[in-house]
Symmetry: C2
Subunit: 109 residues, 2 copies
């Protein structure tokens, strides 16, 4: 048993990605952000669908159509494969703790 809110002992300068469950077509991962954002002009454009929930901190996602989503703890979104998105803001106090499930639902059988 482990706890999703237990932080690594060292403060982080880079975003922290921790696989929790890994299959060929599944990744459950914890992400800890401490202020990092997607670099200006860049987008996530993922091969797989992503379901992601913010469990601590606050964060802002941006989409290619200009829409913005403000996330507080407990908020979750589904991001279909190839839906371009950016992380516009992540809090560092407290750090953002994300739980993400990556899967290709079309290949999921």
């Amino acid at each position: 048993m482990a706890n999703i809110f237990d932080l690594p002992p060292k403060l982080l300068t880079e975003e922290y990605f921790e696989p929790l469950v890994l299959g060929e077509n599944l990744l459950i991962e914890r992400i800890i952000s401490t202020g990092q954002t997607t670099p200006v002009g860049e987008w996530y454009n993922q091969e797989r669908d992503e379901w992601v929930i913010l469990l601590q901190g606050n964060a802002t996602l941006g989409y290619a159509d200009g829409s913005i989503i403000q996330l507080r703890p407990g908020d979750y979104v589904f991001i279909p494969a190839h839906q371009k998105h950016r992380v516009e803001h992540t809090s560092s106090e407290p750090p953002c703790i994300w739980l993400a499930v990556h899967v290709n639902l079309e290949r999921n059988f």
Copy 2:
């Protein structure tokens, strides 16, 4: 966007199961427990692997070898397919909010 901590308007007498993402070999679901437990002498014996995290409340899981796990918010466990387990206790104040990912990792490709 939705929030995992938003409770349904009515108080529940039965456990509440809410699919959040559904694929052929994937189910992400929210479970809300308000004191329910697995009936005496019964076990969960699931066809699929389960990764589950308790996000609110406190709960107790029991395994067939007699071991007991006390869960508090943020605690997560991986329960392989056919690992028999029971829910021995769930708090009602506050309700238990679980997030479970069911998948067959052996069939996951």
